[in-house]
């Protein structure tokens, strides 16, 4: 169960990194590259949110024992 939280944390960190990289490319006017990194951020974010939901469900189950 703890692993679910840690895995979600890792994916959120990857999403944050992808967003910051996209922001840097936007600043430089490289909007095509920025769009590519934004897509990666979305993938990481989507996966992280699913894991967060699963981890929270398990957290509630263990808390009610």
């Amino acid at each position: 169960m703890h692993e679910g939280h840690r895995e979600a944390a890792e994916l959120h960190e990857r999403a944050a990194h992808a967003h910051r990289t996209a922001a840097e490319h936007n600043e430089k006017g490289n909007s095509t590259t920025a769009a590519w990194h934004a897509e990666r951020a979305l993938e990481y974010s989507d996966h992280a949110y699913k894991l967060a939901q699963e981890a929270h469900t398990k957290s509630g189950e263990i808390g009610s024992l």
Binding site: H5, K28, T32, T33
Partner: protein, 130 residues
């Protein structure tokens, strides 16, 4: 098709999304630590906060991503992209004299093709890990 005029808003959207992802990551790690210490009540509350941050981060990511493509869902590119590609292709061809307009035209054409590929779900650029 430059989107430079809108870069500030793109930049802020991405930075805000990154902050929310950082908050979610922190809450997840805190929840894991609380559960490991058998403090399940705190772990459950931190887990709830992590899920809320995660949801907000996901929504912001969607907004930032929509800002990175135009209203038709096509990745946009600017003069800097065209100039960089034109220069790279010119170097690849051995730096011949003349024809800068032709280099520019070919680079713009290729970027348009890549953007169309992006619309269909293929990566749009090779230097994606920079």
């Amino acid at each position: 098709m430059s989107t430079r005029y809108n870069n500030g808003s793109h930049y802020e959207n991405h930075q805000r999304a990154a902050e929310l992802h950082d908050m979610a990551a922190h809450a997840h790690r805190s929840a894991a630590e609380a559960h490991e210490k058998q403090d399940h009540q705190t772990g459950q509350e931190l887990s709830r906060q992590a899920l809320e941050h995660s949801r907000q981060a996901y929504e912001h990511t969607g907004q930032a991503r929509r800002g990175a493509v135009n209203e038709h869902g096509v990745a946009t590119f600017g003069h800097a992209d065209i100039a960089a590609l034109a220069y790279a292709q010119w170097q690849t061809r051995g730096c011949p004299a003349g024809s800068p307009e032709e280099d520019w035209f070919h680079a713009a054409h290729e970027l348009r093709a890549r953007a169309e590929g992006h619309e269909k779900g293929t990566p749009a650029r090779e230097d994606r890990d920079s």
